[in-house]
């Protein structure tokens, strides 16, 4: 996967990712036009499929709204690379299938407009503009197992089908 960087700072909260005034919808197509609008009014217009959000520490802090990773997915973003993620956003991203990579070095080095290539399988991030290569913090093994089944939704579906309650 390859895309251009939209770079933001630390503590990008879920209120700026998708303000509550739009959370009367929970469908990603309806949320997408308002993604990040209070932080960067032109983001939703400029973002192209598989572009990459790069941010500082504690990305996705605040409200538990799953609308936040959905809005980012709806906008076509291919992955979010940050120095760290707030915990509910981290869960929600895994659950809705938004690729997130915790990688302080890559996040600090990348600048607005840089081109990144990401191997999601290996967690390897290459900055094609500046030439660096970085490896993201791997997901804990048990979270990888949930991801391999296809996320929590598929996991529950599987357990219900096999009657393994």
């Amino acid at each position: 996967m390859e895309g251009n960087v939209f770079k933001y700072g630390a503590n990008v909260d879920t209120d700026v990712i998708i303000p509550a005034r739009y959370c009367t919808s929970f469908h990603k197509e309806e949320l997408a036009p308002h993604c990040l609008e209070d932080l960067d009014a032109t983001f939703a217009k400029r973002v192209q499929p598989s572009d990459i959000i790069v941010a500082g520490r504690n990305f996705g802090c605040g409200s538990s709204r799953e609308n936040a990773p959905l809005a980012i997915l709806g906008a076509g973003v291919g992955a979010v690379v940050a120095e760290s993620f707030a915990r509910i956003f981290y869960r929600n991203s895994i659950n809705v299938g938004l690729p997130i990579l915790e990688c302080p070095e890559a996040a600090q080095a990348a600048q607005n407009g840089d081109r990144l290539a990401i191997d999601l399988e290996k967690g390897v991030i290459r900055n094609l503009t500046r030439g660096g290569q970085y490896t993201a913090v791997p997901f804990p093994e048990s979270i990888r197992r949930i991801m391999e089944i296809g996320g929590l939704e598929e996991y529950v579906k599987h357990r219900l089908m096999t009657n393994d309650k």
Binding site: V16, A20, L39, S64, N92, P140, S142
Partner: protein
């Protein structure tokens, strides 16, 4: 192995002798909370999962609080989806408009949480119930659908930060001020992926309302939950529900903490967090003279009767400043009745305040008092992020009810 409260509650619910920090477990939950803004997505996911019935209808709570009374057609449809789901699941703890309240005040008051419980809620301030010694944490909508379907959910066992608070609190200073001060010291990600356990003589002397406020704000330091060990005050609160059986859970004396802090609050001034982070806490005296367009008194953070009493006391019979609006939001139907019975509803109304119905409205910038361009608010709520409460150029200062009352009558940030 010595264990913290967090480890003990999680291990019991995972059917294990003990758990290690960082370990990923599946644990059974005692209560699953959802609201009008998070339930509809969960219902959609729940159906896609192929689930037909929730694991135990009595262990789910469905609360109308965020956009109610319905702020527009879409909000009305969200409540409608939740209402129909409650009927379909025959869920006894569905709370209709007019008999509801903000979930984090409502659930403890309804006896739906007890010490030692494992509670999850699709609302980030679910950490509030840690005040009762429950392990209680915020989740997303897909998580909630999983918990409904299976009665269990995955958790990563957090390490615990011990925060000892000591000293007699000065007049006007309460749980909100302790919380803002501690978040100011730890930072908004200081407790990321961790639990916060509050101990010390100040906490032992802090009334339950103050403990709810303190634990409510644990998420603003990034924490998974805030915890206060059960004591006589917890027992007195739980005595409202004699039918509920519960055992207090304590951290073992030799339990390992990832970090330990001690804060002496005997000289603490009322705290105010400046825009745009709850960690920007400074003493109220540093902000004297900041003009305020709107004061919001209420929310899941400071929405108990004692909060309104303290604000009214700080107003000292004066009227709301001519250039300022005071929006008072009782946090539940029960608190609304308490405002009526105590005469406070009249006190606030005569002072020139508007009293709204129990709702999250202005705290999330939903409805019932949105800030216009460049307006300044002082709120007793929990977050002051860019655009959260209205126009992205508006600014919100966070404070406790005493500062809110004093500010409403002065028209500028003021110390009571």
């Amino acid at each position: 192995m010595p264990q913290t409260i967090a480890q003990k509650i999680l291990s019991r619910h995972a059917g294990k002798e003990s758990v290690q920090n960082g370990e990923l477990i599946f644990a059974k939950v005692d209560m699953v909370l959802g609201t009008d803004v998070t339930v509809p997505l969960s219902v959609e996911v729940f159906r896609r999962m192929g689930a037909k019935k929730v694991f135990d209808p009595a262990k789910i709570a469905l609360v109308n609080d965020h956009f109610i009374p319905a702020k527009d057609l879409k909000a009305a449809q969200l409540s409608q989806i939740m209402r129909q789901f409650a009927q379909e699941m025959d869920a006894p703890h569905f709370f209709e408009v007019g008999r509801s309240g903000i979930c984090h005040v409502l659930l403890p008051d309804e006896g739906l949480v007890k010490p030692g419980d494992l509670v999850v809620g699709a609302d980030s301030h679910t950490c509030t119930y840690g005040a009762l010694g429950a392990f209680s944490t915020g989740i997303g909508s897909t998580d909630m659908a999983c918990a409904w379907a299976l009665g269990e959910l995955w958790f990563r066992v957090p390490s615990t930060i011990k925060v000892e608070v000591t000293g007699k609190l000065p007049k006007w200073v309460g749980g909100k001020d302790i919380a803002l001060y501690v978040i100011g010291k730890l930072g908004v990600e200081g407790a990321l992926y961790k639990a916060l356990e509050f101990t010390g003589d100040t906490i032992r002397n802090l009334p339950m309302d103050g403990r709810f406020t303190l634990c409510n704000l644990a998420i603003e330091a990034g924490a998974k939950t805030g915890l206060v060990a059960s004591d006589d005050k917890t027992a007195a609160f739980m005595a409202q529900f004699p039918q509920l059986k519960w055992d207090p859970v304590f951290s073992d004396p030799e339990a390992a903490y990832s970090e330990e802090y001690t804060f002496d609050v005997s000289d603490l001034q009322p705290q105010v967090a400046k825009p745009y982070l709850p960690s920007n806490a400074v003493p109220v005296g540093d902000l004297k003279g900041v003009k305020v367009d709107q004061v919001v008194l209420g929310s899941c953070t400071n929405g108990h009767l004692s909060d309104f009493q303290l604000a009214a006391e700080a107003m000292r019979g004066r009227k709301v400043h001519p250039h300022t609006r005071l929006v008072v939001i009782p946090s539940s139907h029960k608190v609304m009745l308490e405002l009526l019975d105590s005469g406070l509803a009249r006190t606030f109304t005569e002072a020139g305040a508007v009293i709204g119905p129990p709702t999250c409205g202005p705290c999330i910038g939903g409805h019932m008092g949105i800030l216009a361009q460049n307006e300044v608010g002082l709120y007793t709520t929990n977050r002051n992020f860019v655009g959260r409460n209205g126009h992205p150029s508006s600014q919100v200062y966070l404070a406790g009810p005493a500062v809110a009352g004093a500010t409403a009558v002065a028209g500028e940030i003021s110390s009571p």
